[in-house]
């Protein structure tokens, strides 16, 4: 394991400290926690939005704290959901009187911890709504299982819910639009190499020089299936196909596209993937309103990428276009 760290036990607290030190005009830390909130939090008369999860997904989630997106982000230990007390601190720090929306990625741990925090907040009289993001097309949905995971598409939920919250909308309205995004959102990922949790010291899985994993999540976990390594175009086709089918996209639909790097994959390769994605979508007469390419939701130093599509309508388009001024996402 080769990492620029001091002590595996303190990576999260040092990361949060280094992050807050870099951007004092944009964010502040809730003392004694790994919670980061807008410098001007709580914003009175605005629904607060809190997200978070395990660390190791940077710039998620602290990078999305700011005007037009999140009010607060909670950083758990690496790949480990944050605890209810930390989430509760975030809720309290961002509540400006209109209630707080929790944007939760669909993992058992995240759901349970955020739920318990919501219960604590309600006891204190803070109105809380939850939206569960489950954009991962790799996992089958079933009433007997926990269902699909939340992965990179979550950033677009932050963007659009955040934009609506800026307009002074109610908690119910903000939750409704977040759920609408989730209903129109699909992501599929793949990995060429695994990532290593600092405290574990060795990678989450091993993978041969000529293999790749399809359907990986963002927690260094193995994917849904393993295959021979393929070209960028073939990979793009596999991922895109799954996502397009999942969303039942049709001619003349309009979408936003996100090509997300998982950590170690150069931007060059993401652009090459987009070269294929954009031409396939064009052939399908699906129009692309905006393309996001970069590292939005990573998995430490995993090599690989995910493709996200969000089907847009008038409302979602306008909110997507709205101003956002965060550290990792500016419009």
């Amino acid at each position: 394991m080769k990492k620029l760290i001091n002590d595996p036990e303190s990576v999260v607290s040092e990361m949060v400290a280094g992050f807050v030190a870099a951007y004092p005009k944009k964010v502040k830390q809730v003392p004694g926690t790994n919670v980061v909130v807008r410098a001007d939090a709580p914003v009175q008369g605005k629904v607060g939005i809190v997200s978070g999860g395990g660390s190791g997904h940077e710039p998620a989630h602290g990078g999305y704290v700011g005007k037009g997106m999140l009010d607060g982000a909670v950083a758990g230990e690496v790949f480990t959901s944050p605890t209810p007390d930390q989430v509760f601190e975030a809720i309290k720090a961002v509540d400006g009187g209109k209630g707080v929306l929790l944007v939760i990625k669909n993992y058992t741990g995240d759901v349970m911890n955020f739920e318990m925090a919501a219960e604590l907040a309600e006891v204190e009289g803070i109105k809380v709504e939850k939206v569960i993001v489950n954009d991962d097309a790799a996992v089958e949905n079933s009433t007997y299982t926990v269902g699909k995971r939340g992965i990179a598409g979550t950033v677009l939920v932050h963007k659009i819910a955040g934009a609506l919250a800026e307009t002074g909308a109610t908690l119910e309205e903000v939750a409704a639009v977040a759920n609408k995004v989730v209903a129109n959102l699909s992501t599929m990922g793949m990995a060429l190499s695994p990532s290593t949790i600092p405290a574990a010291g060795k990678p989450g899985f091993t993978i041969d020089e000529n293999e790749m994993e399809i359907g990986t999540g963002i927690h260094g976990e193995p994917g849904i299936e393993r295959s021979e390594i393929k070209t960028a175009d073939e990979v793009a086709d596999i991922l895109l196909n799954k996502v397009v089918n999942q969303l039942h996209l049709e001619k003349n639909n309009e979408v936003a596209v996100m090509i997300n790097g998982l950590g170690a994959t150069p931007l060059m390769e993401l652009y090459i993937v987009n070269n294929r994605v954009s031409s396939v979508l064009k052939e399908m007469d699906i129009s692309v309103r905006e393309t996001f390419i970069g590292e939005y939701m990573t998995s430490l130093e995993m090599a690989g990428c995910s493709i996200t599509l969000l089907r847009l309508d008038q409302q979602l388009s306008e909110l997507l276009d709205a101003q956002a001024d965060t550290i990792a996402f500016k419009k």
Partner: protein, 207 residues
């Protein structure tokens, strides 16, 4: 003979030692079918709990368990944090202010823990989770007026190992689908360790 606050404390202190020892083993189980942090989470949580136990004084097992639950809840994280946290908080709640706890009372308290786990995690038997150890363990305690602790240890070991053949339906391992078969569930393993250590402590006081 009875289970007092000292026994409860001994259980948790020993458990901490065990989770520190088994940190890598539990994480490796989690690397196979999850995200590889289960041992790290348990070791972090119980280490914090241990620090607390070194300084705090408790008069009842109930208070001890409630506090333990709170520490685990705020230090373990992940899926196991709210689950183990809930388990101890519920057990503490069930024991009220009793100073000594009989075997029946302990079984009843752990039954409340199990109910809490089910409510929080919504998992069922054979979903390949810690419940696959908890459910038979509590059933055994409730159905045997006099517990044969060796039998109990054998049972939880069997059940823990039995998760190997199951396909996960809950937790991260469920994303692997059929590929989750063939691996022991890490939470079942940590729960197995918890029950084995409980058995040792109970044997010691002849519960």
């Amino acid at each position: 003979m009875a289970f007092t606050v000292d026994e409860a404390k001994l259980w948790l202190i020993n458990l901490n030692k065990i989770y520190q020892q088994e940190k890598m083993y539990l994480s490796e189980l989690d690397q196979a079918i999850g995200d590889g942090d289960h041992g790290i989470n348990m070791a972090r949580g119980f280490n914090e709990l241990n620090k607390k136990l070194e300084t705090a004084e408790y008069h009842t097992t109930a208070d001890l368990f409630k506090d333990a639950g709170m520490v685990l809840l705020s230090k373990v994280g992940g899926a196991s944090g709210p689950l183990y946290g809930t388990a101890f908080i519920k057990a503490g709640g069930a024991l009220k202010d009793k100073e000594e706890v009989t075997k029946e009372e302990l079984a009843a308290a752990l039954f409340e823990s199990l109910e809490g786990l089910k409510l929080r995690g919504k998992a069922r038997l054979e979903d390949k989770t810690m419940l696959d150890v908890w459910i038979p363990a509590i059933e055994f305690l409730q159905n045997h007026p006099k517990v044969d602790w060796d039998e109990f240890k054998k049972l939880v070991k069997e059940k823990m190992e039995g998760t190997k053949k199951l396909e996960a339906k809950k937790g991260r391992a469920s994303y692997l689908g059929i590929r989750s078969v063939g691996h022991i569930d890490p939470g079942a393993a940590s729960s197995y360790l918890l029950f084995v250590e409980l058995a040792r402590v109970c044997e010691g006081v002849g519960l």
